[in-house]
Each structure stands twice: as C-alpha cells, then as structure tokens.
C-alpha cells in the first residue's frame, strides 16, 4: 500500500532519471543541485528561470538578424549563439547545447538555410525542456505539500 508521498517520490525519481537518459539533462544539472541548500533553497529554479529568459532573448535576437535576408549579421548571430551555448552548458541543458554547437557551425560557415533550420530546432528544444522542468518542479512542490522530502536521485 503506497502512501501518496511514496508514489510522488517514485514519480519524481523516475521522471528525473528519464530526463537524463533521454539526453535532456546532463551531469552539470546534477552539479547545480549540489549548490542548492537551506541558504539557497530555490537556486536551481532561479538559475533555470534565468536560462530560459536568456533563451528567449537570444533566440529572438538571432531570428531578427536572420530575418534581414541578404544582409544577415552573422557576427551577431555568432555571439548570441556563443552566449547561449555557454549558459546551456552551465545549466546542464544537453540537447540545447548540442544544437547550439551545430548552429554555431552553420553561422561560422555563413550557411543561411542551416542557421534558420537550426535556430528553429533550438527554439523547439528549449521550450520542450522548459515544459519538462516545469513538470519536475511541480512534482517537487506536490511532494513538499504532501509533507514529504524530495528524494536524492543518483543517476
């Protein structure tokens, strides 16, 4: 007879593991969790939020630059994707980081079609991750509200 808390905790554990196994997150995300404690209980949520804000801003900048067909500022695209690559790497957003690397290559070779395609993928990917992490945080909240502890998940 599983208690509600035990069920939620199991869900949380399974979901977390799946995110890693499916390549959404990597061990840098684990490092971030290590930095969260009583002094900074919302650290991961705060950083993740900052990251998604970065995504929105930088992707919008790049889209605008790519919109100037025939007069694309590839330098701007390059520096934006460099920033995004950096923050996705620091947050453990594995798939987003991978796409940024591809986008950077397209940008370096001034491959317009490639850039447009890749940017679209980056956009989809960060939104997917955002939804998944929201689900994860919701699970955490449910556990806490039910009076339980959020389990430590070893990947």
């Amino acid at each position: 007879m599983d208690t509600l808390i035990a069920q939620l905790q199991r869900q949380f554990r399974d979901y977390t593991i799946s995110l890693y196994h499916q390549g959404f997150l990597d061990d840098q995300f684990t490092e971030l969790k290590k930095l969260q404690d009583e002094c900074s209980p919302d650290f991961v949520a705060e950083v993740v939020t900052l990251f998604f804000e970065d995504c929105e801003k930088l992707i919008s900048n790049m889209a605008r630059a790519l919109d100037q067909a025939g007069n694309v500022d590839f330098k701007l695209v390059g520096s934006s994707v460099h920033q995004l690559k950096g923050s996705s790497s620091s947050v453990g957003a594995k798939r987003v980081k991978g796409l940024c690397i591809t986008l950077k290559e397209c940008c370096d070779s001034q491959n317009y079609e490639g850039c447009v395609r890749c940017l679209q993928q980056v956009d989809i990917e960060y939104k997917t991750l955002k939804a998944k992490l929201q689900d994860l945080f919701n699970l955490e909240q449910q556990i806490v509200q039910a009076g339980g502890r959020i389990p430590q998940v070893d990947i």
Binding site: K34, L35, F43, V47, L50, Q83, S87, S89
Partner: protein, 234 residues
C-alpha cells in the same frame, strides 16, 4: 584595522553574464567564501581602488585614494576571459602591473578551450585557468592561493600594530619589501602543510612575474613533481 581577523576569504568575481555571475557566486558561497560580483573589468578595478588615470606604479597613488575608502581585502579575483571592453586578460595584466594588488591571485574562466589563450594567461600571472562550467571541485584548488594573501595581510597588520606600539605615534602601513626567494613549495604542497610553511616563511614581493619564477623552478599544476630538497636561488 581590528585584530578580529575575518576567517572568511573574500573573492571578487567578474563576469558580464548575469547567469554566470549567479552561478559563480553560489559556487563561492558554497565554498564558504564571501563574494562580491561585478559585471566588468573596469568595475573590478574600481572596487579594488585602482581607477583609470591613476598611475598604478605611482607610490603616491594609494594616498590619493579617498581617505574614507575602506581598505578592501580581496583574497582572490576570478574573472571571465571574454568580456566586452576590458577582457579578463586585460584585467589580469592591470592587476599584475599594480604594485598594490599584484599579489592577489587571479583566476581566469573561459567557455573555450584554447591552449594559446590558457598559456598566455598563465604566463601573465594567472594562478589557474578554469574551463566553464566551473564546478565545486575546481574551487577547492583555490584555497591554498587565497590562504597566501590572507596570511600575508595578517602579517602586515601585525607589523603595523607592532610599529605603532613601538613609536607611540601612528605610522603608515608598511609594506615590507622582502627580497627573499619565493618559496615555491607553497604552490604544490597539500593544504595542511601549506599553513605551516606559510606561517613560517616570508613572502616575496618581487617585481618579477611570480608565475614565471614558479615555472622556472617547477612545472605547472598539470604535472607537479615535488620540489624537495632543491635549494632555491637566494
């Protein structure tokens, strides 16, 4: 300048990215450091008290700083390499060129693994070069470096206090120009032994690039032979 010395290390972190500042701040706090973050090299220099236009080699420069400017003790500067305006490398150079602050260890961070960049920074006097994302384990390497400045500053305080007592009149802070050889062992021994060595030895305030003299004696962090029993040049 109280005798109650702070036991925490104070680190100045420099990065133009808000995201990265938040991360490095948390990493440092988790490593029990006091942190000040700034978003540019020029703000970092301002914080240290080195302002543009003031000749950092001018011995009178310190005395022209405002009297009410509290002496900020910084035990380490950690800076991003790629920043608009003043890069981390430029900041490193300015710090190392300053007579007042050249002994503050500087660490460079970068998201790019460019060997030429890394060796240039190390040659210019950076203590470490970290690839981003920086992790807790990386910061553990910094304790020995920060310990050096902390103990040196405490020693300066002791000297000042002693001379005040002796003369009976307030004296200026004396920065001892000790020309002894650098004790290179400090760089590579484990922390516990570091404390003993540092307490006993006096540090060089040489005008030479400290990293260069270290490298002449031993190889860099990446391959660290023990420097046992070899007499350093006097």
């Amino acid at each position: 300048m109280g005798m109650a010395a702070e036991s925490q290390f104070h680190v100045l972190a420099v990065d133009d990215s808000l995201f990265d500042r938040k991360l490095i701040e948390r990493l440092l706090q988790k490593s029990s450091c006091q942190v000040t973050t700034v978003d540019s090299g020029s703000k970092a220099l301002e914080f240290l008290g080195l302002r543009q236009g003031i000749d950092s080699n001018d011995p009178n420069a310190l005395s022209t700083a405002p009297v009410n400017h509290q002496v900020v003790e910084v035990n380490l500067i950690i800076t991003d390499y790629c920043m608009p305006g003043m890069t981390g490398y430029d900041l490193l150079k300015k710090v190392k060129e300053s007579s007042a602050f050249r002994d503050i260890p500087v660490v460079i961070m970068s998201s790019e693994n460019v060997p030429a960049r890394i060796s240039r920074c190390l040659e210019e006097g950076a203590e470490e070069f970290f690839l981003k994302p920086v992790r807790l384990a990386d910061l553990n390497k910094l304790k020995p470096h920060m310990m050096k400045t902390k103990l040196k500053n405490q020693k300066l305080e002791e000297i000042e206090t002693t001379s005040k007592v002796e003369n009976g009149v307030p004296t200026a802070v004396v920065e001892p120009e000790i020309k002894d050889s650098t004790q290179v062992e400090i760089e590579i021994l484990p922390l516990q032994e570091d404390l003993l060595l540092i307490k006993e030895e006096e540090q060089t305030l040489s005008t030479n690039n400290k990293r260069k003299s270290v490298e002449e004696g031993i190889s860099t962090d990446r391959a660290r032979p023990r420097f046992d029993g070899i007499a350093t040049a006097v």
